[in-house]
């Protein structure tokens, strides 16, 4: 901690939040909110006179609310930087602190939050984790029984710098507990709360048990566990040490804690799997080893940074094996538990790994980004002909389109992230996206639907989420109908209505329109554009009396392989429910209606030329069927 403050190249900004992140790799502009401390950093010498003078006492969150702090405070005596804060929510404006500060004049009640912008080349996200609050688990009585405490409360109680100066006492009567139980997996590996394992709590329980035992050798400690997980170097040996030192390990998840209301003694009912029977034991104090959960503002940070979350709410990495440190956004990296629960050595290692990933960029003079940007055909843009439009500029999540009535819209390449929202929205097909041109995507659609199109489920997926979800379905071997034919564009915003109409015109049995969940969008609001269009299409197809299930809209993250497989299988079932003749008749009935919407398709540059070549490919594919 002190090293970081001493390093001249590190600017430590505490009591500061990230408000906005704009830009792209190498060129981010981050807006920070420096919250008012009401103490001037350039004047405060950390003497603490203000705290002594302050008459207000409120619970100190840093001490897990086991001790008070003043309204003029630092959370702990080793705070870095050592600059005091005035908690304006608690302050009664008596100004005793100002008096105590005297000639230093460090306290300044006129301070306000300050927004500052910084230009940044690469970002490491290390926002950490939070702890599960066991109050909802009424069976354990946390909050009702004073001697049931959480692991973090134990940390402070047992800490020489803590509220009791390290004296272990039980909250109900201040006596030293002789029988202590630790319950593992509180809120983790529990389908009611968090199904996943919190990674470090087994070791954490053992550490606390050993520390207690060392400091209070006459204390008896029992750890209730489901499994003990000690996979890393030296962990199993540590577990052995705990067993040899007399700590009792009971395999079984306690079903209930009851309390004697007079003595506040606690009774844990649990199965002991090794004994094969239900047991009840009495304790003076119980520590609940809480689950690690994402930060309460993880959703907010996720949308500020435009990065997705895995199920469970942790930030999702680009690739779970090959790029575990990278976010899906180039130039943003993860360190520590924000990406998933991690113990200290793993967090430190990931900090170094993230620094190393970031320094690849920061040590380069320039960085390369994908050229899959949008491009306007100026002669097709109606604005150039004097018509008011600007739809493209409104759809763009990045303000990357210059729209002036009377001039052709222009894409500012450096700002364009290549989502294709403008391309999908332009009603005059005046914009295309490099590497995902209409000619290219239509060619894919036509070949995928060349043979028996009515049996096919054409799946449009975005690159970042749904395509990843389909990949995960495969890597997990979640089987789904082989009639699915997948197609990839960068974002659901690129899924132009024309592409969907053309697929139905060609006789597609069913179409899946899929992308990310709104909060996960790689392109800020690309999904919103895609979702609005999908809703319009749903209405249009409903009016056309298309059979239900033939057009389906689903938001599937890269972590939802099971969902991808389920959706495709459900679509197959809907398709199977339509009698073959009825389906064919419906396709024929709707074909002219779809064609009516596509009269200008061949005017899009490249589309008519491409269709000549695609005809040859399709002929060959159909020929293959004939021979077979």
């Amino acid at each position: 901690m002190v090293d970081a403050a001493r390093q001249p190249l590190i600017e430590v900004k505490t009591f500061t939040e990230v408000e906005k992140v704009e830009g792209y790799v190498g060129n981010f502009v981050v807006t920070l909110r420096e919250k008012a401390k009401y103490v001037r950093a350039d004047r405060c010498n950390g003497c603490g006179a203000c705290t002594k003078a302050c008459p207000v006492e409120i619970p100190n969150y840093f001490e897990m609310n086991l001790a008070p702090r003043k309204a003029a405070y630092i959370p702990m005596s080793q705070a870095v930087p050592l600059i005091y804060n005035i908690d304006m929510d608690a302050c009664i404006h008596c100004y005793k602190c100002v008096e105590a500060c005297g000639a230093l004049e460090a306290i300044d009640f006129s301070m306000e939050d300050k927004l500052v912008e910084q230009e940044i080349g690469a970002i490491v996200v290390a926002t950490g984790f939070s702890h599960f609050d066991p109050t909802p688990m009424t069976e354990y009585g946390y909050g009702r029984f004073p001697n049931v405490i959480t692991a973090m409360e134990m940390e402070r109680l047992n800490n020489s710098a803590g509220p009791t100066n390290g004296a272990l006492i039980r909250p109900s009567d201040g006596k030293s507990p002789k029988q202590i139980a630790i319950i593992n997996c509180v809120g983790s590996r529990d389908k009611r709360y968090n199904p996943s394992c919190s990674n470090f709590c087994c070791m954490y329980a053992i550490k606390n048990a050993l520390l207690l035992k060392q400091m209070h050798p006459d204390t008896e400690i029992s750890i209730y566990y489901i499994d003990i997980r000690t996979p890393s170097k030296g962990y199993e040996e540590f577990y052995d040490r705990a067993r040899e030192s007399g700590i009792r390990f009971i395999q079984g998840r306690p079903s209930e804690i009851t309390e004697d209301p007079d003595t506040h003694q606690l009774f844990i009912s649990s199965e002991d799997i090794t004994l094969g029977k239900v047991i009840e034991r009495e304790y003076d104090m119980v520590m609940l080893n809480q689950a690690a959960i994402p930060q309460p503002d993880q959703n907010h940070m996720s949308s500020v940074l435009n990065i997705a979350q895995s199920p469970g709410g942790w930030f999702m990495e680009y690739h779970p094996k090959l790029r575990p440190i990278d976010s899906p956004t180039d130039g943003i990296f993860f360190a520590g538990a924000c990406q998933g629960p991690k113990d200290i050595p793993a967090s430190v290692a990931q900090g170094s790994a993230a620094a190393s990933r970031a320094s690849r960029i920061l040590h380069s003079d320039s960085w390369q980004i994908e050229p899959t940007v949008a491009v306007v055909w100026p002669d097709r843009c109606v604005s150039a002909k004097g018509q008011a439009c600007g739809i493209c500029a409104r759809a763009c999540p990045y303000g990357a389109i210059d729209y002036t009535k009377g001039l052709a819209a222009e894409v500012i390449t450096a700002k364009c992230h290549g989502c294709g929202a403008c391309v999908g929205e332009c009603p005059h097909d005046s914009i295309t996206q490099l590497h995902y041109t209409d000619a290219q995507v239509l060619a894919q659609i036509r070949t995928l639907l060349a043979v028996e199109p009515e049996k096919k489920i054409l799946a449009f997926r975005c690159q970042w989420c749904s395509y990843g979800g389909a990949d995960l379905a495969g890597t997990s071997h979640f089987e789904y109908s082989a009639n699915e034919r997948g197609l990839r564009v960068m974002c659901s915003a690129r899924m132009d209505a024309d592409l969907i109409y053309d697929a139905y015109r060609l006789g597609a049995g069913a179409i899946l329109y899929s992308g990310c969940h709104p909060q996960d969008c790689h392109y800020i609001t690309g999904q919103v554009v895609g979702a609005k269009r999908a809703a319009r299409l749903e209405k249009i197809f409903e009016r056309m009396q298309m059979s239900p299930g033939r057009f389906r809209v689903e938001w599937i993250s890269a972590a939802e392989g099971d969902k991808y497989a389920r959706v495709i299988n459900e679509m197959q079932a809907s398709l199977d429910a339509i009698p073959e003749d009825a389906l064919k008749a419906e396709i024929e009935r709707l074909r002219p209606e779809m064609a009516k919407k596509l009269t200008k398709l061949n005017e899009i540059p490249g589309v008519a030329q491409a269709s000549v070549q695609v005809d040859f490919i399709v002929d060959e594919m159909i020929g293959k069927e004939k021979v077979a």
Binding site: T14, V80, Q118, G121, G128, Y204, N208, Q350, G351, S366
Partner: protein
């Protein structure tokens, strides 16, 4: 701002050259070949218009597979390459690099995902998987026919990092960056850095103080 190497009208244009496509169907050991016979996809793709070379390979991503592609680009005068193998999330950079080494623009390579999104998902339906692998390969061939060469966009880099969160991971990342002479802004929402670690008593395995 950035340099803009995209000659816009050119890049969006319809390609003028006659496609000469090479198709490489990967066995991926038994990951693909255990479900479908890659040779059948090879025979099918070989007949598609524009395809001048179609062949299977045990591991397209391995040195031998990449060498085959590079040699073929010269030998058959290929101007487009289709790799029917795994996910683009896995190996698109690999094959883009491979064709670039042989002098082909990296954006003239297209992949068909016949592993994650085919053989691994349809192990129960081998006939269906084979038909799907053919269609996905044909779609990649069709798209490849109309690919145009593109250049990566070069952008400048601001030499400053931001670390969001001053816990043990963030502090360590900031120190590592600073020690490499990179200026760092370390942002922490609480009034002190330290995170959860600072609240802990002694920690495993050294059992010393956490601060």
């Amino acid at each position: 701002m950035s340099e803009d190497p995209i000659t816009k009208s050119h890049a969006a244009d319809f390609p003028q050259d006659e496609p000469r496509i090479g198709v490489y169907v990967c066995h991926c050991g038994s990951n693909i070949a255990g479900v479908i016979p890659p040779e059948e996809v090879v025979d099918f793709a070989g007949k598609l218009p524009g395809v001048v070379r179609s062949i299977d390979t045990m591991y397209a991503c391995a040195d031998s597979g990449q060498r085959l592609i590079k040699e073929d680009i010269a030998k058959y005068g290929l101007n487009r390459v289709v790799v029917s193998a795994c996910s683009v999330r896995m190996h698109e950079p690999t094959f883009r690099g491979c064709v670039a080494e042989a002098g082909l623009n990296p954006f003239l390579m297209e992949m068909a995902n016949i592993r994650e999104q085919c053989t691994w998902a349809h192990g129960h339906d081998r006939a269906g998987a084979l038909e799907k692998a053919k269609d996905l390969t044909a779609a990649a061939v069709a798209k490849a026919s109309f690919l145009t060469p593109l250049n990566m966009i070069k952008v400048p880099v601001t030499k400053r990092a931001m670390v969001i969160g001053g816990g043990v991971a963030g502090i360590n990342a900031a120190l590592d960056l600073a020690e490499q002479n990179i200026p760092v802004t370390l942002v922490e929402k609480e009034p002190t850095i330290g995170g959860v670690m600072a609240q802990l008593n002694k920690t495993f395995p050294t059992m010393d103080c956490s601060i």
